[in-house]
Symmetry: C2
Subunit: 355 residues, 2 copies
C-alpha cells in the first residue's frame, strides 16, 4: 500500500518576521490562502488518502500541524523529541509505519515546497511508487530551468530525458554548486534539481539503514509498538543518540539500488526566500506584488506584505517590505536569502519575543 510521509519539522527562518519559531515556513500561507503544509496534503490526496498520510514534525509544532490537517488522524502525526537530520527522521517514520504495515511503500515529501503544476507532479508519482515497490530507493529529479546555485543536483546516467517519467540510474548526488558548475550541470542535460522527495518500501529502507547507519537502525529497532504507552519515553531516550546526518549522505550516495525519476517542468520550487515568493506570485502592471492595500508612486518590482494596512511606496524599487505587529523587515529583494542571518543576530541577542 502507498503511504505519504510529509516532513514538517523545519524551522525556515528565512521568512522572518512572518515566520516565527511557532509558525515556521510550512505553516504559513505564502502562496495561496492555504499554508504550504495544507497545499502539500491537498496535492497528494488524489493519490494517497488521508488514512495513509503521515506527518513528521517537532514536539513544538505538533498541535499546530494537527489543527491545519483535520483530515489526518492524530496518531499519524509523529513528533521528533529533538531535531535531527533526515536519516534518523526517515528511519523513525519507516520503523513506525513498518510495524503497522510491513508492506508499506513510502513517498517522502517536504511540507514547505511549492509545485505550480500538481497534475504533472502526480503523473511522476505512479512510476516512483512502482519502482519503490520493486525494491529501489527512488528519488525525484526536477529538470532545471536555470543554473540555480541554491539547490543540490542529481546526476543521471546518460540518455536521460526530462518528463519521460521512468526510473533511470543515478550517478551521484551533488551539493549546491557554484555558478560555473551549475551552468555546466544545466548544459549537460544529465543534472536535475534534487527536490528532496524519496520513495521506498519501509522494509527496504530499514535494511539499508541497518547496513549504513547500524547504530541508528538498532536504536530505532528498540522502540516498542507505536500504540505502546512506553513509546514516547523510549523515543525521547534514543532519538538524541541517533546520528545527525542527511539521508542523501548516509544512504543514497552509498546504496546500490538507487534510481531517479526525471520529472519534466512541474513548476517546482523550494520557496527559499521572500524573493522566491515574489517570483512565484502574479505581479501588477508596475511589477509589484502586494498583500496589503498598496499605493505605489514610481515604485517597481517590490514585494509588500502588511495585512490590514495601507502601504505607500515612493520612488523605491526591488524591495521586500514585510510588516507584523512587533517587527518590520525592509530588505533589498535580491538579498532576502540572507534574512536567516538577521534571525541569527536576534538569537544572539536572545530576543525570544521576536523569534
Amino acid at each position: 500500500m502507498r503511504y505519504a510521509l510529509i516532513l514538517a519539522g523545519g524551522r525556515g527562518t528565512r521568512f522572518w518576521p512572518r515566520s516565527r519559531a511557532r509558525t515556521p515556513k510550512q505553516l504559513l500561507p505564502l502562496l495561496s490562502a492555504k499554508t504550504l503544509l495544507a497545499e502539500t496534503v491537498a496535492r497528494l490526496r488524489p493519490v494517497v488518502p488521508p488514512e495513509r498520510i503521515w506527518v513528521l514534525t517537532s514536539r513544538q509544532l505538533r498541535k499546530r500541524v494537527l489543527r491545519q490537517l483535520p483530515e489526518v488522524p492524530a496518531r499519524q502525526v509523529l513528533a521528533e523529541p529533538v531535531q535531527r537530520n533526515t536519516a534518523p527522521a526517515l528511519g523513525l517514520a519507516a520503523q513506525v509505519i513498518h510495524r503497522i504495515d510491513p508492506d508499506a511503500v513510502l513517498g517522502v515529501f517536504p511540507a514547505d515546497h511549492h509545485i505550480a503544476r500538481p497534475a504533472g507532479f502526480r503523473k511522476t508519482l505512479r512510476p516512483a511508487y512502482r519502482a519503490a515497490l520493486e525494491g529501489s530507493l527512488v528519488t525525484l529529479g526536477i529538470a532545471p530551468r536555470w543554473a540555480e546555485t541554491g539547490y543540490g543536483y542529481l546526476e543521471f546516467a546518460s540518455g536521460v530525458k526530462p518528463g519521460e517519467a521512468r526510473p533511470w540510474p543515478l550517478r551521484s548526488f551533488r551539493e549546491k554548486p557554484d555558478l560555473k558548475t551549475a551552468k555546466e550541470f544545466v548544459e549537460s542535460g544529465r543534472f536535475y534539481w534534487n527536490a528532496g522527495m524519496f520513495f521506498w518500501r519501509a522494509a527496504v529502507f530499514l535494511e539499508v539503514l541497518r547496513r549504513y547507519l547500524p547504530n541508528t537502525a538498532a536504536l530505532l529497532a528498540s522502540l516498542p509498538a507505536p500504540g505502546d504507552r512506553r513509546f514516547n519515553a523510549r523515543l525521547k531516550d534514543i532519538f538524541p543518540r541517533c546520528e545527525d546526518i542527511s539521508v542523501d549522505f548516509a544512504v543514497m550516495e552509498k546504496a546500490e539500488n538507487v534510481v531517479g525519476i526525471p520529472a519534466g517542468d512541474i513548476g517546482w520550487s523550494d520557496v527559499g526566500s521572500w524573493n522566491a515568493v515574489y517570483e512565484l506570485s502574479r505581479n501588477d502592471a508596475q511589477g509589484n506584488v502586494a498583500r496589503a492595500e498598496l499605493l505605489a508612486h514610481e515604485s517597481r518590482g517590490n514585494y509588500v506584505e502588511a495585512p490590514g494596512k495601507l502601504v505607500a511606496l515612493l520612488g523605491v524599487e526591488d524591495l521586500v517590505v514585510v510588516d507584523t505587529p512587533d517587527a518590520l523587515l525592509v530588505a533589498r529583494r535580491e538579498r532576502t536569502q540572507e534574512v536567516g542571518q538577521l534571525v541569527k543576530l536576534l538569537e544572539k541577542q536572545r530576543r525570544n519575543d521576536l523569534l
Copy 2:
C-alpha cells in the same frame, strides 16, 4: 509691550503617515520629545512671557493646541473659522491684540520650524522688536548655508553682513528660485532665506493693511471687542470674505518702511520633509537615524520611525520608513518632499480614515 504670535494653523501633509488632519506637523514631536509648537513657545519664553504669547490656529486644532500649551491663557489661542493665507490671518491677530493693547509690538513666528541655536535666535529678537517699535515692518533673514531651492529669499541692500543683527534695508522678496538662481543668490552675499518671521506694531500693520488691502482691513475693523459674545459669529461671517493672499505679496513687497534683520547661522530649518528630519537628527555609525529598535545589516543612510517595533533593514540605503498602526510609508529619502502628492491621491480616493 512685546507680544509673540505663533502661527499654528498649517496642514503640513508632508509628514504623512505620522501627520494627519488632526495632528499636523506642528503638533508632532519630530526633532525632540516636544512638539515643534511646544519648542517654538519654549524658545520664546525667555523673551516673551506666556501672558503675551498668542497663537493663531484652526477651529479643528484649537483644543489640541490648548492641551499642548497649558501655560498660554485660552483666550489667547485664536481660531480661524476657515483657512486663509497670512495677510488676513495676521490682520485678524493685529486687530484683536490692538484692541487689548494699542501699543502692542508683535513678533510673528511659524509653529513648525526648527532652530538649532535658540540663544543665537533670541539675540536677533531685541533689534527686531526695537525696529518694529520704531515703526518699521521687520522681517528676519537667515544667512543661507547652501543654494536651497525650497525657500523664498530676501534681497538686502548691499553692504549687509550676516550676524550683524541690526535693521537693514530690503530690496525685494523673492519666490523659491531655480538652482542656478539660488546659487547666484548665495554667492552674492545679499540674499537671505525668508524664514516667515515678522515684527511690527499692531497699529502700524493695521495701517498698511488699510492701505494695501482695504477690503480685508474694513472687514476686520468691523469685529466687536474680543470678549464680546458676538465676536465668533461675526468672525465666521467676515473671515471667509477676506482676501486669500500672503503677507509678503500683499504688504511687504509694497510697503516702504520694510527692513530686514540679517541673522547669522542660528541653525534655522523649515523642516520641510522627512529628509530634513533625517538631516537634522544625529545619525549612528552607519548613518541611520532610528526612532525604533533598529537591526541594520549592510544598510546606510536610512530614517526609520516605528514606535514600539523592531525594524530590520537588509541591504537598503537612503530610505525613509515610517510606520503607524494603519499606514506604512517606504520612500526614497531624497524624494520625501513628494509625500504631499501621496496624500493628494488619498484625498482623491476619499480615504478620510487615513488623512
